[in-house]
């Protein structure tokens, strides 16, 4: 960080002073895929971790060890392997809980963050027929679900669908020109009719970090529930559910160095206790008769089917890996790379960054457009240079529309990225401009 004369515009982050730099060289050695060549043997410059991260060998080994030594169906089977698989799965639950400061009984394993968000949305419509304990989840005509225009489709479409199923009304916070949630009309939007507020914990496009705790305080004062989409926050900075403010938090394993096929819903225990199930079947029942069934307490109530134990074990290993690095160090590393990328790209004529130009309340998604060159063509030219970025609307179509663009190119950073890779991106952008200008 640099200091300037005069009073600081904001107080330094107390965590900042305590961070230590990541040993990126050592980290990169843990990720076999970073050693492969692409497009004519060029080194891979992977700037698409916001879509999915790579996996260190420690995670791959943990998953392989599970299959090699303990593989069995958790929570069933009268044999030793079944016991070991169950122990491994439940230990993984406890490990993931510790990663976000939660109790193990508040961690529901899903197949993805998307499913975690759908779980809450479907539980709310299922509440209509689920008995008195589920009353606080019921929504219907006259009730409102409040989202933001920044949301990933996964935290938008399930709420649109909930409204269609129940007759509730969807409302939303707009977006500021800087790509943040526009909270200027919060008092008008959060009312006694609001039953639930669903908000991103970090935009996957603009990187904006909304004040979730502040929004949650307003929502709770009106009796509304709060869901935070942590898919882009939990992998990248310390998240503690004790200070989060929200009632539910969804995130996915594959974006945080873990395997694909598993995600997490954290929920306050008393809410999970009262919430009806979404997906039903084996593992989640208490007693089944032909006339009807009763269900287990959470988290099992929400985990129908044979658990994804190997994936849970891999996710736990990813939590170990990240905690060994220190999440505050991970955040500091990404903040440096983000600042570098914002400065380098903003200096190029014809480049427009979609999102704040400083790292204040901002994570490491750097989306941009290049005047006169479509993002697909930008992505193609960068790919030719070995640079992997995302180039489309990043599952946030309404946000792009609100910012007046059809699509964008997005670079995202993680523990294994370097400043040289940021330089390669900026040089790639200049080469792309030359290619499309010259011919």
């Amino acid at each position: 960080m640099t200091t300037t004369a005069g009073p600081p515009t904001h107080l330094p982050d107390p965590l900042q002073a305590a961070t230590r730099p990541l040993d990126v060289g050592a980290i990169r050695a843990d990720f076999p895929i970073l050693g492969r060549g692409v497009r004519g043997g060029r080194p891979l410059v992977y700037l698409d971790s916001g879509a999915t991260s790579h996996k260190p060998r420690q995670v791959l080994d943990a998953e392989r060890d599970f299959y090699t030594i303990h593989n069995s169906a958790a929570h069933r089977g009268a044999h030793l392997l079944g016991e070991e698989a169950t122990d491994a799965y439940e230990a993984a639950r406890a490990r993931v809980a510790a990663f976000i400061g939660a109790a193990p009984g508040e961690i529901v394993f899903t197949k993805s963050a998307t499913e975690a968000l759908n779980l809450v949305a479907y539980a709310m419509s299922n509440a209509a027929t689920a008995g008195p304990q589920a009353a606080r989840f019921r929504v219907g005509p006259g009730d409102e679900i409040l989202v933001t225009e920044l949301e990933h489709h996964a935290n938008l479409v399930p709420w649109q669908q909930l409204c269609e199923r129940t007759g509730a009304t969807l409302r939303w916070f707009g977006v500021t020109p800087e790509g943040r949630v526009d909270l200027s009309d919060a008092a008008a939007l959060i009312t006694g009719r609001t039953r639930l507020v669903a908000v991103t914990h970090q935009s996957n496009v603009t990187g904006a970090v909304p004040p979730v705790a502040e929004i949650a305080a307003l929502a709770h004062a009106r009796g509304a529930l709060v869901v935070a989409d942590g898919a882009q926050s939990v992998p990248h900075r310390p998240v503690d559910v004790a200070t989060l403010g929200a009632d539910f938090l969804a995130f996915s394993s594959h974006k945080m160095l873990g395997p694909s096929g598993i995600g997490v819903l954290w929920g306050r225990r008393e809410l999970l206790e009262a919430m009806p199930p979404f997906i039903t079947g084996g593992s989640m029942i208490e007693v089944v008769r032909m006339e009807g069934s009763t269900f287990l307490p959470p988290p099992e109530r929400f985990e129908a089917g044979v658990p994804a134990a190997a994936q849970a074990v891999g996710l736990a290993a990813a939590c170990d890996y990240l905690d060994a690095l220190g999440m505050e160090n991970v955040a500091a590393h990404e903040e440096e790379l983000t600042a570098h990328a914002l400065e380098s790209l903003d200096a190029i004529d014809g480049v427009r960054i979609l999102g704040p130009l400083t790292t204040d309340d901002r994570g490491g998604a750097v989306s941009f457009t290049i005047e006169g060159v479509h993002p697909h063509d930008v992505g193609q030219l960068l790919d030719e240079l070995g640079i992997a970025v995302r180039a489309d609307h990043h599952c946030a179509w309404p946000l792009h529309r609100a910012l007046g663009v059809q699509a964008s190119t997005r670079a995202t950073f993680y523990v294994y990225n370097t400043h040289d890779e940021v330089e390669a991106l900026a040089e790639g952008v200049r080469q792309t401009q030359r290619f499309f200008a010259a011919t």
Binding site: R39, G40, H374, P375, H376, D377, Q380, L381, D383, E384, A391, D392, H393, W397, H400, Q406, A407, F435, F436, T439
Partner: protein, 159 residues
């Protein structure tokens, strides 16, 4: 760069100077197609007229937003099909689709495809095939609608 096989000069030329772009009246059918991944879109109109007892593509006009490949492909498509009988034009469209699905192994028929052979390189980049096909699929849909029955413009605008 290998990417130059994708961005051939003829493609970049059609991208910068698209042919038949801009919606024209009258028309027999209009469709809107979107690539859900990137939001690229095309609105396309066709006029189908009888030519010696056989339906023919009298005009194609379009408006579109998208990448160089989708823009150039729509432009090339209009050049390839306008003035052809629907049967001939459908043959060209089928040949183009086959070329796109060839993963770079096809030997395209230049007599049939004209400038569209320049898109051979696209077939080596699976992520871009949808871009190249956007205009062609819209055209095929619009022609089918135009042939479906007596054309009233008001009844043709929904897709």
């Amino acid at each position: 760069m290998g990417v130059e096989s994708l961005y051939q000069e003829i493609i970049l030329d059609h991208y910068r100077h698209p042919h038949n772009k801009g919606l024209r009246e009258p028309y027999d059918a209009q469709v809107q197609h979107v690539n859900p991944l990137c939001g690229d879109e095309v609105t396309l109109r066709v006029v189908v007229k009888d030519a010696g007892g056989e339906p023919a593509v009298a005009d194609v006009s379009y408006d579109s937003l998208g990448c160089s490949i989708s823009q150039a492909s729509a432009s090339v498509m209009t050049e390839a099909v306008i003035g052809k009988t629907v049967r001939e034009a459908m043959d060209i469209s089928a040949a183009f689709l086959e070329l796109m699905q060839s993963r770079g192994t096809a030997e395209p028929d230049e007599d049939l495809l004209g400038d569209a052979v320049a898109f051979e390189g696209v077939s080596k980049y699976p992520a871009r095939i949808k871009c190249a096909l956007l205009g062609w699929m819209a055209w095929k849909d619009a022609v089918s609608q135009a042939l479906d029955g007596p054309a009233t413009q008001a009844g043709r605008e929904q897709t």
